[in-house]
């Protein structure tokens, strides 16, 4: 480790271990990990780009460690945020009190692509919309976390969280015995409990739950198989299901079997060709009829995406105050809305310090990273902001914390983010202690996406003794 890097106490044992372990052994373990992943078949599919269609996401063998105290703080914040997001979704599909109270502009919700009129006045089972939420966080200091993004639709990555742990336990059993690490292997069981809790027929003791996948060509197909297998439920594709008299059935070798809960991993637009995209062959015709008739539960709920929309993000702290009467525990990245005169003045003044993004854009297109931009680029963006201020937002660049990572040159600090998975059922909120840590393997990079040189790490939450 470079001497300039300060080390937090819960990393002490890891660093001692790193100092004692020769680099070539670490390298050997890294290769072993790769073979394990390849054998288990944990790949993400990338079709149509040439090369190996089934790629591995790089795995870093040094775990990311979160202290018990920090996790206690974090999990409280996550629970609060997820409850608020759910309350918001219920509200916008019912009375819309938050709009009436003037806390959020009506157009932002009602004219939002993610607002789904088909969900209006539907009393979803257990009043739950985001049964599985993935909240993307970054840490900038002690008990200082920022939420980058909420994922309330079909958050993925939990299989990496679980398999990273499996592989680590196989590679470094000694390291595990040195630490007291909160287990995460129970996640599939809790997920199944969560899904059971929303079954619409309370009289049925053992409701039928299925996982609806778009199929083997989906990039997350491995995860779909993995979760279905771990939960012991059927992995179904659209054509395996049909709706008759507003009841969902699946085709089995024993004949038609009634389905109570659908854990779907396909997008809203594809879920029912009679209601949404007519060209969808992935969905189930008539599913919305069964859903609106109260005969089936869908997780996450259709229309849940209204809560994780980019333009709604700014209002999440407001939601926490409005629905829960509490102060938000987790912070939003401060966001300047260029449509607002004061904000705009600030942005134009400080453009070289800010990240300017298109409010509706995605994927980094049309983005300005002020500190790395040329003077001309900054001027260009200032002109654009003045011309169509409503299309831009701006955020400060965060001083992300780094964690030790094993790279070609040895052990070096790299930036990470964290996606914990929060489960919300009729029986309450449960959080697997940990999450998916994504790491930017390139030096200095802040981009953790697997498509741009990002990898994953096992995430340890220490148990306080």
């Amino acid at each position: 480790m470079g001497g300039e890097v300060a080390c937090r106490p819960h990393y002490r044992q890891i660093l001692e271990w790193l100092n004692e372990t020769p680099t070539d052994l670490l390298e050997a373990k890294r290769r072993e990990a790769e073979i394990l992943f390849r054998r288990i078949g944990i790949t993400f599919a990338v079709y149509g780009e040439g090369g190996d269609p089934e790629r591995l996401i790089p795995f870093d063998i040094i775990p990311r460690v979160i202290s018990a105290a920090e996790w206690a703080f974090l999990s409280k914040g996550l629970e609060q945020r997820v409850r608020a997001l759910n309350a918001f979704t219920w509200d916008v599909y019912h009375e819309q009190e938050i709009i009436k109270a003037g806390h959020i502009p009506p157009e932002l919700v009602l004219h939002n692509e993610s607002f789904c009129a088909e969900m209006q006045n539907l009393n979803v089972p257990g009043r739950i919309y985001n049964h599985i939420s993935g909240i993307d966080l970054v840490r900038v200091g002690e008990n200082d976390f920022y939420v980058l993004e909420d994922n309330c639709r079909v958050p993925s990555g939990v299989s990496y969280m679980l398999e990273d742990r499996e592989v680590m336990m196989r590679l470094f059993p000694d390291l595990f015995s040195m630490h007291d690490i909160a287990p995460i292997a129970q996640y599939p069981e809790i997920l199944l409990e969560t899904l059971h809790s929303i079954a619409p027929r309370p009289s049925v003791a053992d409701p039928t739950v299925v996982l609806l996948t778009p199929g083997a060509f989906n990039s997350a197909y491995y995860e779909h198989c993995f979760l279905a297998d771990e939960m012991g439920i059927e992995l179904v594709e659209g054509p395996d299901l049909f709706v008759d008299h507003n009841v969902v059935y699946m085709r089995t070798t024993r004949g038609a079997k009634r389905v109570d809960v659908i854990y779907r991993r396909i997008d809203d637009a594809f879920i029912d060709p009679l209601t949404f995209r007519a060209d969808s062959v992935l969905g189930v015709p008539g599913l919305m009829g069964a859903y609106r008739s109260g005969n089936v539960a869908i997780a996450n709920a259709v229309g849940a995406g209204i809560a994780d929309d980019k333009s709604i993000y700014i209002y999440v702290p407001e939601m926490v105050r409005f629905y829960l009467g509490e102060e938000p525990i987790l912070k939003n990245v401060p966001t300047f809305n260029c449509d607002d005169a004061d904000d705009r003045a600030y942005v134009l003044e400080h453009v070289d310090e800010l990240v300017v993004k298109e409010a509706r854009g995605s994927g980094g297109y049309g983005m300005l990273v002020g500190p790395k931009a040329t003077k001309d680029q900054c001027e260009e963006f200032k002109k654009r902001i003045v011309k169509t201020p409503g299309e831009y937002i701006a955020q400060p660049t965060l001083a992300l914390s780094t964690v030790p990572t094993f790279v070609d040159s040895g052990v070096a600090p790299r930036h990470v983010d964290l996606r914990p998975f929060i489960l919300q059922g009729a029986d309450g909120i449960k959080i697997a202690p940990g999450g998916l840590t994504r790491v930017a393997l390139r030096e200095g990079s802040l981009v953790v996406n697997s498509s741009q040189g990002g990898g994953t790490k096992d995430t340890w939450v220490l148990v306080s003794r």
Partner: protein
């Protein structure tokens, strides 16, 4: 006025298929001025179809056929008492906030041509403005069943200068929204002015509704240049045709589907 509707749709597939599904929005609901005395949607072999309420509170009947078939016959029929409310809708289910209906939709996306049509509208009073809009559209877009098809957008229809009731309604909705009036698409039935004649096109009809402050939702039928009267039965509303389409279907198999539709809308009973 008491009106009897018999609407038969025969779905035919050129080769036998194993599964087909149809969502049918052909059930009128009661509100002030529209009293539904009897109504049912049935399939020849399946009997009365199950239904559900969609997000706009339209009744959606679902036909599921899981056996081998080449044909299905759906009949929507019933009797409705209608009285003239000058096009004003009162007492209908309104699950969505009025502002929602200012939202653009694929079929009613705004364009420069639509904007300039809207901005040419005269009148200080909202009611007069919308009437003027209705008259303008009626003048500029002639009735022609060949000029457009079921997928045509408002922009395309305006450019063609011709279309059917669906296109008139889409153009009206796009312009009215541009003028700041929440607006929506309505599908339903229209009693032909010539008694006893069986209509196949305009008997199944479409028009628009706009929201006017202190008045409420008001119907406008630019195809016929009137506000709906006691000759109009309203069955479904949505942002545009896609959400209120009378029939929407999918099937599995390499078959071509063809529809044969006959609609009879006639005055009946005590008021005749």
């Amino acid at each position: 006025m008491r009106i009897r509707v018999t609407h038969k749709t025969i779905y035919r597939y050129d080769t036998p298929i194993d599964f087909s599904f149809q969502a049918i929005r052909l059930t009128p609901q009661p509100f002030i001025g529209q009293r539904v005395l009897s109504w049912r949607v049935r399939e020849e072999d399946e009997g009365v179809l199950p239904n559900y309420m969609d997000g706009f509170q339209n009744v959606v009947s679902l036909l599921t056929l899981l056996r081998e078939h080449e044909e299905a016959q759906v009949t929507a029929e019933g009797v409705v008492d209608v009285s003239d409310q000058k096009g004003i809708i009162n007492g209908a289910p309104e699950p969505l906030p009025i502002l929602y209906f200012l939202r653009q939709s694929p079929r009613t996306a705004i364009s420069d041509a639509l904007k300039s049509l809207a901005s040419a509208v005269d009148g200080t009073d909202p009611v007069l403005q919308l009437h003027d809009l209705m008259n303008c559209i009626h003048k500029q877009v002639r009735y022609d069943t060949q000029a457009t098809h079921v997928q045509t957008t408002a922009t395309q229809a305006l450019e063609a200068g011709a279309g059917v009731c669906q296109d008139h309604a889409h153009i009206f909705i796009a312009c009215a929204r541009a003028l700041g009036f929440p607006s929506r698409y309505v599908s339903g039935y229209l009693l032909s002015s010539e008694p006893g004649r069986e209509e196949t096109f305009e008997a199944s009809h479409a028009w628009a509704e706009s929201y006017i402050e202190r008045v409420g939702w008001v119907g406008f039928d630019p195809a016929n240049q009137v506000c709906p009267t006691d000759q109009y039965i309203r069955t479904a509303v949505a942002l545009d045709y896609d959400g209120a389409a009378p029939v929407r279907g999918v099937w599995r198999g390499k078959a071509e589907e063809s529809l044969a539709v006959t609609v009879s809308v006639q005055q009946t009973g005590a008021d005749q």
